[in-house]
Amino acid sequence: MAETVESRLRVPATAKKGEIIDIKTLISHPMVSGQAKDASGKTIPRDIINTFTCTYNGKQVFAMKLEPAISSNPYISFPVRVDASGTFDFQWVDDNGQVYKDSAPITVS
């Protein structure tokens, strides 16, 4: 599945020191709930993104545990107060242990 999973980020390129910015993330993932059955009546195994974390200059600033009730292509948005220029690193992990990573820089003045 790795080849079809793509993440998209919206992080401001610049911000003032102490400003609270909004980060928006989206990742294309089917989030197979494990509740559906295929045509022969067999349960389709669960495959969801179960963990999302965001670190800012190496320090975790946000984490989310996702359940099958989260929609496919999970969209997650949250605020972060920025005090220094640096990098946001994002990581999504799915039930198969696949890890998807993305990052975005920010310049703080």
């Binding site: 045509a39 600033v61 946000f62 099958p68 929609s71 999970p74 969209y75 972060v80």
Partner: protein, 154 residues
């Protein structure tokens, strides 16, 4: 409440007999739904006492036309300083096959206690958000969301 569940379940069984495709497309076929008691049990896993009402705001449509993707915004009234901040937000739904929805870990680094995400709802049901503060106190809010088409294609 109960007669509605039974009617819906019967309808799903009939749909299952009708076409295999309909079942394959259905996210939540022929499964027992979680109950409000299950949702409470999931919240009890947080430990501590019962949450007090207040401080938490759930933003969601009154009526969700498509249960597959219902936008949810949760705000918690907190200064988000080292002295007082929201540590965890837990969200449960009482009418999905499983009660759990999401858990968020926040810190003073967030500046505001605010999260946005999208969820699946199988039917008209209540969602509850509980915020755990750094001092261990808990606050909650519940919102009923009417679902026109469940996250089930039918």
């Amino acid at each position: 409440m109960i007669p509605i569940y039974i009617r819906r379940r019967d309808a799903l069984v009939l749909a299952g007999r009708g076409t295999a495709l309909a079942v394959a497309a259905c996210l939540f076929p022929q499964r027992a739904w979680a109950t409000p008691a299950d949702a409470q049990a999931a919240l009890a896993a947080l430990g501590g006492g019962a949450p007090q009402p207040g401080k938490v705001t759930i933003g969601a449509p009154e009526i969700a036309e498509n249960g597959n993707t219902v936008p949810i915004v949760i705000d918690v009234d907190s200064p988000m300083t080292d002295a007082s901040y929201v540590k965890t937000i837990l969200v449960v739904a009482d009418g999905n096959p499983l009660p759990g929805v999401a858990r968020f870990d926040l810190s003073p680094a967030n500046g505001r206690a605010h999260v946005e995400f999208r969820i699946r709802l199988a039917q008209t049901e209540n969602i509850t958000a509980v915020a755990v503060m750094n001092d261990g106190s808990k606050y909650s809010a519940t919102k009923n969301i009417k679902v026109t088409i469940g996250g089930c294609g039918g």
